[in-house]
């Protein structure tokens, strides 16, 4: 029973959660959608690196040193007509008998035929699931093809870039997760309790921010023992990167906490008898979540760039670990620019990944506040 009825009752059901509203406004942001697709593709590439890479990234071949990139063709025309069959033009290696300089020449009549989902070198996906089918392999297992060219040891750049994607993209994710935990914890404490705790934590943030990052990274990474296994080194590097990264997130979280603490609905929750834990985790953190996801998305590219920079300088990850930074280290000298410009391909990937993540983060940040667009 209701003695007083609101005349403006909605009769149709309108059950749209905050997340769905966010998705609706995010979808309208074209660049961010493009960013999202690219980022998803990059992470899928990282996950299925063994399947997507045509060859083992470490397998060297002296006959293919600095092999130029080959164009992939899909229509094969022979005397009998034509058929759809991927192939690449073969090259022959010629060595000048006097100068010993090597050149690759097109071998016109010779085509290397490729096949999708064919059998290649056996592998273990993510080091767990054994398999031997690969996305694109040569029909003749003895042949090799190089869509992105080969490096100074004749290793396939495409395979190496794909494996680099796994390390570089994941180092951003792992590093940001670490900084997120630190940032939310310290920022949250700082914003919720205020007073002297806040003072202390904020001065610590300012201290960390005032440290010159590159020299600190250099010093820390240089102090890592070089004989550590690649995996340990990987985690040590992410830890070092996130030691600096948490400060920005801590500031964002603190600011939001300060603003939220005075919001009516948080006061209402306290008056409802909620414990402090419940107020923070049930009422305040969910309101921060969308903003935090946006901040995190914007923090990942910073991590990726930092890792690339460190590895490029030879102080981050070390071979045999493959990351975009490690690959770019190969392109450090003038010879590679002159002789093998395709060594810069990982640089293009860094560019695309960072741009895509930034677009995605921007879109998320705009979408995070559906109320901002409803009003006005």
């Amino acid at each position: 029973m209701a003695s007083v009825l609101d005349p403006r009752l909605h009769t149709d059901t309108e059950v749209a959660s905050q997340w769905r509203l966010m998705w609706w406004s995010f979808r309208r942001h074209t660049l961010a959608m493009v960013g999202l697709v690219v980022v998803i593709m990059l992470y899928l590439t990282g996950v299925f690196a063994e399947f997507l890479a045509p060859f083992d990234p470490q397998s060297a071949s002296s006959r293919h040193v600095y092999h130029p990139p080959q164009m992939i063709h899909f229509i094969d025309s022979t005397e009998d007509g034509w058929r759809i069959k991927p192939w690449v033009q073969a090259y022959t290696l010629e060595r000048d008998p006097f100068t010993l300089q090597t050149t690759f020449n097109l071998d016109e009549g010779n085509r290397i035929y490729l096949t999708f989902f064919g059998k290649g070198t056996p592998y273990k996906l993510m080091g767990l699931f054994p398999g031997e089918r690969r996305f694109l392999v040569p029909e003749n297992p003895r042949d090799r093809f190089f869509l992105f060219g080969a490096d100074r040891l004749g290793r396939d750049m495409l395979s190496r870039t794909i494996f680099g994607t796994r390390v570089s993209m994941s180092i951003g994710l792992v590093g940001v997760t670490l900084s997120l935990m630190l940032g939310v914890l310290l920022g949250g404490i700082s914003g919720y309790y205020g007073g002297w705790v806040d003072m202390g934590i904020q001065r610590l943030v300012e201290f960390v921010l005032s440290l010159p990052t590159i020299p600190i990274w250099l010093a820390l990474t240089a102090s890592l023992p070089p004989d550590w296994p690649p995996l340990t080194r990987y985690f040590a590097i992410t830890l070092i990167l996130s030691l600096v990264g948490w400060t920005e997130l801590a500031r964002v979280v603190r600011g939001r906490f300060l603003a939220l603490r005075a919001e009516d609905f948080v006061i209402a929750a306290r008056l409802d008898g909620c414990s402090e834990k419940r107020v923070i985790f049930r009422h305040m953190l969910p309101s921060l979540m969308s903003h935090m996801i946006a901040s995190v998305t914007l923090a990942i590219p910073v991590m990726i760039l930092a890792e690339t920079a460190l590895s490029f300088l030879g102080l981050g990850l070390l071979p045999p670990t493959i990351s975009w930074g490690v690959l770019l280290k190969e392109a450090q000298n003038i010879r590679s620019i002159a002789q093998a410009p395709w060594l810069f391909v990982p640089g293009a990937f860094v560019l695309v990944a960072v741009l895509a993540l930034n677009f995605l983060g921007d879109g998320l940040r705009d979408a995070a506040d559906p109320y901002a667009q409803e009003r006005g």
Binding site: D6, T13, D264
Partner: protein, 591 residues
Amino acid sequence: MATVTPLRPKPLAQRAEAPVVLEVEGLVTAFPTRHGLFKAVDDVSFALEAGRTLCVVGESGSGKSVTARSILQIVDTPGRIVEGRILLHRHRTSRGKGSDDTVDLASLEPRSNAIRAIRGRDIAMIFQEPMSSLSPVHTIGNQIGEVIRLHEHVSKKAARARSIELLRQVEIPTPETAVDRYTFEFSGGMRQRAMIAMSLACNPSVLIADEPTTALDVTTQAEILGLIKRLQDDHGMAVMFITHDMGVVAEIADAIVVMRHGKLVERGSVEKIFFEPQHDYTKMLLQAVLDLDRPSERRLERRAVQPLGPPVVEIRNLTKHFDLRHGLFKRKGHVLKALDDVDLALRMGENLGIVGESGSGKTTLGRCLLRVHDPSGGAMLYHGANGVTADVATAKGAELAAVRRDIRMIFQDPFASLNPRMNVAQIVGEPLLVSGIASGADLRKRVGELLDLVGLPANAMERYPHAFSGGQRQRIGIARAIALEPRVIVADEATSALDVSLRTQVLDLLLDLQERLGLSFIFISHDISVIRYFCDRVAVMYRGQVVEVGETEDVCNDPQHGYTKALLSAVPHPDPRHRGMLGRHRYQAGA
């Protein structure tokens, strides 16, 4: 102490024909949305006459602001004028050169020089928020001078002299020094005066005022309304005054346009609208206002049957000081006395109103009672149902939690007080869940009952707060407040954010709940008509002190304290025959 300053009371005199300065014909302003074109203003026509005030009335979302913005072509993107004409008859203004000079503003490009020349010069506008419509980084003089120099070729020095003169016209004290001040050094009323000075800078023939007094206290509102009236008489401006407050309309309007959902519902002279309204919506609007201006009959009937009980809450010598010193090295600064020795008592089943202007400490009082703020001194005794008396001011832990179950709060802003990430069932069920009273299916059943009690359908449970209108959201907040079967409810401006027609509904709901659940209310409001409707007794607060307490009708009809007199006389009455506001009392503490 109290001084009586009779300004000119303006009688509802017979009027001569006045020249039409601005005509709006069949205006349609639309916003493209995902679901097609949304017409915010749909076929609206009216005319502004020189020296006359046209009031545009409507509830939120009625398209009144968009109409005003359409005239100046400053509609927010992507909105645009689709149809209609807006004719500015320049030749009929003081600026006119005799020959026919009519401009159709609707045909001008929003970014063209032609419309820029008209904005501020022929037609000026004042906005609702004097805080955000003035720049904080320029002095008042710079901002007024800029307007003058944009439209007229005068030197900086001359512009400054004009600025000072304008500030004097809008009654800003010591305009010679005020001209070099920044906006944040001014109070809200002073800022609105500066804004008016700025709009008058080029002697416009039309002044559009978009809710210019809504953000101000009633006494300041009365001053601003008086000022606009006087300036209108001096300059012969046509004024288009947008408001939702029928009291203000009755006070100043010559003609009225009533809008609803973007459409023009009714228009006519002030007498016609107030005394012979034709449209049902106009009647409903007027009835809602008139209902509020007297005590609720239902409440009076109830009190006759069931007398008030013993006190439940006794506030004794309550003080609350806010430390205004900031930073690491606390300089000797001042302390704000938000509450200064307050004594109040609330009896069982009573509605105690607390009225006062912004900064009077009324909200602080309500928040201290729930210990959102810790009081600096004094006592707040709560006599519980089991005969135990607790001092809320010093209660801790379980004792405080028990008090907070019995004393609950309804918030002002129905948008901000509901967690946007939780659905209605979670919001209303939260206090039941955390106090361990109910869970699971039992909790849902209880929430369903609560929603029914406040007049919401059970299918509201799964929805999120943003799917509800303001009035419905306030009902959700009320359901949450009564979930724990409290004995006292502190309602802090619970109806201020609602349209007039919804206010009575919410107040009636509260009275209904009072009868069923035996509640006592502390009702905090700046709106004297709401207090009059709802409250048995009223306490008037001024600068942290309670200056007067008494039966609501006694206080309203025969105020004793000078401040109460000033406050009551500044309240505009929704009756154009009683334009008494301009001959009102002014109160200055210590004067």
